[in-house]
């Protein structure tokens, strides 16, 4: 094959595909772990009374076939977009999810941006000012950041900033009574900008602020800690000392010799951080009435709507997989040594 980079890419994509199959296997196995009859879970009360209907349903869904065959049917269904039907909404899970994904993307996107800027920034400062006052303060703050229960913080923030102080707008993505901007990306902020509707834009940003910050706290703490240790690790390396021996100006040494190698572990953590953000949405969206995947997952979990829960697990798992693939590829771009391994 042509370049080592292309080979590297192909290898990563193949691994990702295999993992994706693994994810479907996991959700399939878990669905079949559920004690109780899936027919009972999916059919209405009256239908359950009639054995013929039940038998028909079971045969339709291949429940009388051997497990491996059921898995293949399941897989085929997935590829056709059949993720089952939600017991709550009685709509296909896929539709429910498709509707809620943009909202979560917007929230998680805002949160990861804030986390990266603040987290990496604080981490670098803490490393460069090692053992001085700023370092100690940042370390304690980041420790607190990763110790706060997200669901609790969401409640507290909502109570304090909305209910008591009336500083942030209430639930939802924009003010009630305002119509959402024409849909291009599904992200209200971006769409509002694209159609020049400033009031909608500022309303959307206002509503985004509180949940995004709550969501970001944990990842800011995580990224600060990690960046600090990654940068310290690099600062101790011979090549940094050699760079200073060459008389290169401080800024060059910082960016080219310290930050660039440190970026590699930082990007890994950023990928993990995004995963924890996705997790966090489950705990945060419900409180802020943010109509995203998290809220859907929350409702499904609290009502034990299994098809929906599995659907969420599957979709989120795949999204996370894609993110990690992107991270892997970025490695290869930044660090040429990785392409050979």
């Amino acid at each position: 094959m042509r370049s080592p980079f292309a080979r590297f890419l192909v290898r990563r994509v193949v691994t990702a595909l295999l993992l994706a199959v693994g994810i479907t296997l996991v959700t399939f196995v878990l669905t079949n772990l559920v004690p109780g009859d899936p027919a009972a879970a999916n059919l209405g009360q009256r239908a359950l009374g009639d054995p013929a209907i039940v038998a028909q349903w079971r045969s339709d869904h291949g429940l009388d076939r051997p497990l491996p065959q059921q898995y293949l049917m399941h897989l085929a269904g997935l590829l056709h977009g059949d993720l089952g039907t939600s017991q709550q909404s009685h709509r296909p899970v896929l539709d429910d999810l498709a509707q809620s994904v943009p909202a979560t993307l917007e929230l998680a996107g805002a949160a990861i941006l804030v986390s990266l800027v603040l987290g990496v920034g604080f981490g670098v400062v803490a490393a460069l000012r090692r053992d001085r006052f700023a370092d100690h303060v940042l370390r304690v703050l980041s420790l607190i950041g990763i110790s706060v229960p997200t669901f609790w913080l969401a409640l507290v923030a909502f109570y304090v900033f909305f209910f008591r102080l009336q500083v942030t707008p209430g639930s939802g993505r924009i003010d009630p009574g305002m119509t959402p901007p024409p849909q291009v990306t599904g992200l209200y902020t971006v769409d509002a900008l694209l159609s020049g509707r400033w009031e909608v834009f500022s309303s959307a940003v206002g509503h985004l602020a509180a949940p995004a910050l709550v969501l970001a706290l944990y990842t800011i703490g995580l990224l600060t800690r990690f960046t600090r240790s990654a940068v310290l690790e690099v600062l101790g390396q011979d090549y940094v000392r050699a760079a200073r021996a060459k008389g290169l100006p401080g800024r060059v040494v910082l960016f080219r010799y310290v930050l660039r190698p440190a970026l590699v572990p930082i990007i890994t953590v950023a990928g993990l951080a995004f995963g924890s953000l996705l997790s966090g949405t489950v705990l945060v969206e419900a409180v802020f009435a943010w109509p995203g995947v998290g809220q859907y997952a929350y409702k499904s979990a609290t009502t034990l709507d299994l098809p929906a829960v599995m659907g969420v697990g599957l979709v989120v798992g795949v999204v996370y997989l894609v993110i990690n693939l992107v991270v892997d590829v970025l490695y290869g771009v930044i660090d040429p040594r990785v392409r050979v391994s």
């Binding site: 693994g22 706060v148 409640l155 507290v156 966090g280 419900a286 798992g317």
Partner: protein, 291 residues
């Protein structure tokens, strides 16, 4: 002039320097306080945590220092009894993860080949999901109960330990004393137990201490979602969930959350200090001389 080594080499102090940091002290004190509360709750708690005898949704005040919930139960007492639920379970959870993950990882590292492959692929699969999502999915599949929630967190937690132990075992496996043990006729199991494992426990312990906080957050998170403790159990996450509907009675959700926060913080302070103390790099940097 005195030399304060990181491990107190000279007779300066009996406590290693790292432990004299304020963070570690705070961490130990808070953790101990909670453990005492958990042990002595039946004696310390002013009210029965399940009794619904007090005025409902009463704000903090005399007789109910942290307020009461919508069923007239004293929140302070419930938090104290909640410690008896959350803390032992979390510690058990981490211990189980260490044992299961550690054993699997050690086997993977030691025996290699297909054992290694299978275990690592399983670990990859778990890592492919964001933690809460996977825990949520497993807990939902198994059925909502505290025991199943513990299992769900276990499923999510073991791979980290497996990876670490595997790496450590791989590092130690090729060392002379292990090889000579095998040459002397030790069986693989004996070699693993006697030569390899003792060298692996240090870093794993640090990881475990830092993990206690994460485990508690996950466990209470699952209970918050209704996938863990069932009412009327005074589990902290479930208590916060109960506070969602009556959020203008802020005390119902705030205090249990604070309880979680303080416990997690205490163990994180502890774990961080442990890690600094045991980090060979920091120790080496202090001993660094001209070479």
């Amino acid at each position: 002039m005195k030399r304060g080594g990181l491990f107190g080499r000279t007779r300066v102090s009996r406590l290693p320097q790292a432990w004299r940091r304020p963070l570690a002290v705070v961490g130990v004190v808070v953790a101990l306080v909670w453990i005492v509360v958990a042990l002595a709750a039946p004696v310390l708690a002013p009210h029965d945590p399940l009794a619904q005898e007090l005025p409902r949704l009463a704000p903090p005040g005399p007789g109910h220092w942290l307020g009461t919930d919508q069923l007239g139960r004293d929140i302070l007492s419930r938090i104290m009894y909640g410690a008896r639920v959350s803390i032992p379970l979390t510690l058990l959870l981490v211990a189980l993860s260490v044992v299961v993950g550690g054993l699997l990882g050690a086997c993977a590292g030691y025996f290699g080949r297909w054992v290694d492959e299978t275990i690592m692929r399983l670990a990859d699969l778990v890592f492919a999901f964001p933690t809460v999502i996977l825990a949520m999915v497993v807990a939902a599949a198994l059925g909502a109960s505290l025991g199943n929630a513990v299992l769900a967190v276990l499923v999510v937690a073991w791979p980290a330990y497996a990876r670490v132990t595997r790496g450590l075992v791989l590092g130690v496996r090729e060392r002379e004393f292990v090889l000579s043990g095998r040459l002397l006729g030790f069986s693989a199991w004996r070699s693993l137990r006697v030569d390899v494992l003792p060298n692996v426990t240090g870093p794993v312990l640090v990881l475990a201490t830092l993990d206690i906080g994460t485990a508690l957050l996950l466990l209470s998170g699952l209970s918050f979602l209704g996938l863990g403790a069932k009412p009327p159990s005074p589990e902290w996450g479930a208590m916060v969930a109960a506070g969602v509907d009556v959020f203008d009675s802020w005390w119902v959700a705030t205090f249990p959350g604070l309880a979680i926060l303080t416990v997690v913080l205490a163990f994180n302070f502890l774990g961080d200090t442990l890690r600094d103390a045991l980090d060979p790099r920091t120790a080496r940097a202090i001993k660094e001389r001209a070479l």
